[in-house]
């Protein structure tokens, strides 16, 4: 299988007449942290569930470390660590008891299991709360126990569904530190679904899913490079009018996205355009901003829609 941890090709899944996944293809390499980015309903969770062996695709194929989740689910389960969006811990059990139970389900036992639990508790900084019931832990701590549980069986691939949900900024930073650690020290490939652009920016590779289709798939830098040098955004009361004038008077490729006008400046001379735009539109606009392209710009470029609005 070379250096691929996950390989998905032409994966299709339909619910009724809605295509949740439409010929989806992407790959995740060893030791990479990859993101499946997209608005809710874009197909991320469906794909996550197929890879986690919980759902069968209609057609196409998936391979995790060379194993097919449909025909060899147990082999896939042995190579996977899965962290769900909703907690999968038993709240009435302590953190250590949850890990022990999980280890048993993976055929681990005795002293080697206890040793491994100790290593995980220490690694994720929960050793001092090991004997507290999960119901008494904060959201951030409980998430750490979840990840420790996912990593307990020493998986080659870690799947996480919206891992930052419900975490405060400090806990998010901590989560990232741990994912980096897991990747470098344990050599694990990480695939996470997310609708948070900042989170996707930090990954080695981003696959953007929209309405069941892959609309972009590359490293964040490469994706942003495709958009161009700079992006000018104009907030205006009448964005249609502003876009039309920018197009006719300045010959700029202006598009209306939601309540704003978006202009890509491929040659990177965006700064020079700002005074001219201010002069032409004057009081008709609230704000003109110039920025480097973000993954949001990539999403807008590929779908014609505003990502933040989609997520809300």
């Amino acid at each position: 299988m070379g250096d691929l941890s996950i390989e998905v090709s032409d994966l299709t899944k339909t619910f009724g007449d809605r295509k949740a996944l439409d010929r989806v293809c992407f790959r995740v390499e060893h030791k990479h942290i990859a993101a499946l980015l997209g608005p809710n309903g874009g197909g991320k969770t469906t794909l996550f569930r197929i890879l986690a062996t919980l759902l069968q695709p209609d057609s196409g194929s998936a391979r995790i470390c060379g194993f097919d989740p449909v025909t060899a689910p147990d082999r896939v389960r042995r190579t996977l660590g899965v962290v769900f969006q909703s907690p999968s811990l038993d709240k009435k059990l302590t953190a250590a008891e949850n890990l022990r139970h999980h280890g048993h389900l993976f055929g681990m036992r005795g002293r080697s299991l206890e040793r491994r639990i100790g290593v995980m508790l220490e690694k994720f900084n929960i050793d001092d709360r090991a004997n507290d019931r999960v119901e008494t832990l904060s959201g951030g701590l409980a998430r750490r126990v979840e990840i420790a549980k996912g990593m307990l069986s020493s998986p080659s691939v870690l799947l996480l569904d919206e891992p930052s949900t419900g975490l405060d900024p400090a806990a998010r930073l901590e989560l990232w530190r741990q994912l980096d650690e897991v990747r470098t020290s344990d050599g694990v490939a990480v695939l996470m679904t997310t609708h948070i652009l900042d989170e996707a920016e930090r990954c080695d590779r981003v696959t953007i899913l929209d309405e069941g289709k892959v609309v972009a798939d590359d490293s964040p830098a490469a994706l942003k490079a495709q958009v161009g040098g700079a992006v000018i955004t104009i907030e205006a009361n009448k964005p249609q009018e502003v876009a039309a004038r920018a197009h006719s008077e300045l010959n700029l490729p202006a598009e209306v996205v939601g309540q704003s006008v978006r202009i890509e400046s491929p040659d990177g001379n965006g700064a020079a355009l700002i005074p001219r735009l201010a002069e032409i539109f004057g009081d008709g606009v609230h704000a003109i901003t110039l920025g480097h392209p973000t993954l949001e710009d990539v999403f807008i470029r590929r779908t014609g829609r505003n990502f933040v609005r989609e997520v809300d």
Partner: protein, 274 residues
């Protein structure tokens, strides 16, 4: 570190999963004191209120006529405690699903039948323990328990509890909410108990009820338990059911429910929902 643990992951024996699920049921039960109290107090209140209320009008035609109603009703009360505990323990699989615990279990490389069997055995153990707690009251109603009758009674309760746990699991496995389960409790499980000879003797029942009672597998469990309790080795007891038939039907029902649950859980693409 990596190599040593990954080698221990290669095989996931079912027995370990069964043990782990069983142990989890016991731990959870012990930590939820309200369940502990509810499972004993409810049948106890039933026993005292119904027993005192029906006592005067109770005049069975069977051989147990010298028994007071409180005494007649006692084994039925123990079976009710077993039913409550077995059923409420197994329907917690609905909560396991809702709270997300089950999804973590479903991605483990272990047979789902093992998960279900562990859950069922956990519920059975708890139910039998509850039954034993109730049995401690036997001397209060002048029912002296010999060691042998105690052992027979426990064996009978185990059979009843296993069957009921399996039944609970089979119903709960495909349900999304505990609300729906209460309807089933009232429409199926309570009538099953009421028409098992636990509350009134089969001999006194209307012919139609009698037919239903003979078709009810729990009738044989109650009969077997009653016979065990009185150490009644007579070929046929008061309800017209021989001890052999009681044992055979109870064991068959329990096995049918056990293997039925395992089979149901092993069906692909079931229970994977969250």
């Amino acid at each position: 570190m990596n190599t040593d643990t990954s080698s221990s992951v290669r095989r996931a024996p079912v027995s370990l999963a069964v043990y782990s699920m069983w142990r989890r049921e016991l731990t959870r039960f012990w930590r939820q004191k309200s369940r502990l109290i509810g499972a004993v107090a409810t049948p106890l209140v039933f026993w005292l209120v119904l027993g005192a209320g029906f006592g005067r009008s109770f005049n069975p035609t069977g051989g147990a006529s010298d028994a007071s109603y409180l005494e007649y009703f006692f084994p039925g009360t123990v079976v009710l405690a077993v039913l409550f505990t077995a059923i409420y323990s197994t329907i917690s699989i609905i909560e396991d699903r809702q709270e997300g615990f089950l999804q973590g279990v479903m991605v483990a490389p272990v047979s789902r039948g093992g998960i279900v069997a562990g859950k069922m055995l956990g519920a059975t153990t708890l139910a039998v323990v509850q039954g034993v707690v109730m049995l401690m009251l036997a001397p209060l109603i002048g029912l002296p328990l010999s060691f042998a009758s105690f052992c027979y009674a426990i064996a009978a309760l185990f059979g009843v509890a296993l069957g009921l746990s399996g039944l609970g699991l089979m119903i709960a496995w495909s349900m999304d909410s505990t609300a729906g389960f209460h309807a089933i409790m009232n429409l199926l499980l309570m009538p099953m108990w009421l028409l098992s000879g636990a509350v009134f003797p089969i001999a006194d029942a209307h012919p139609i009820l009698k037919a239903i009672m003979y078709a009810n597998p729990l009738t044989y469990g109650v009969s077997g338990f009653r016979a065990g309790l009185y150490h009644n080795t007579a070929a046929v007891s008061d309800d017209g059911i021989s001890i052999i038939v009681s044992v055979v039907v109870t064991v068959l029902f329990a096995m049918f429910m056990l293997f039925g649950s395992i089979r149901m859980a092993n069906r692909p693409n079931r229970g994977g929902r969250s």
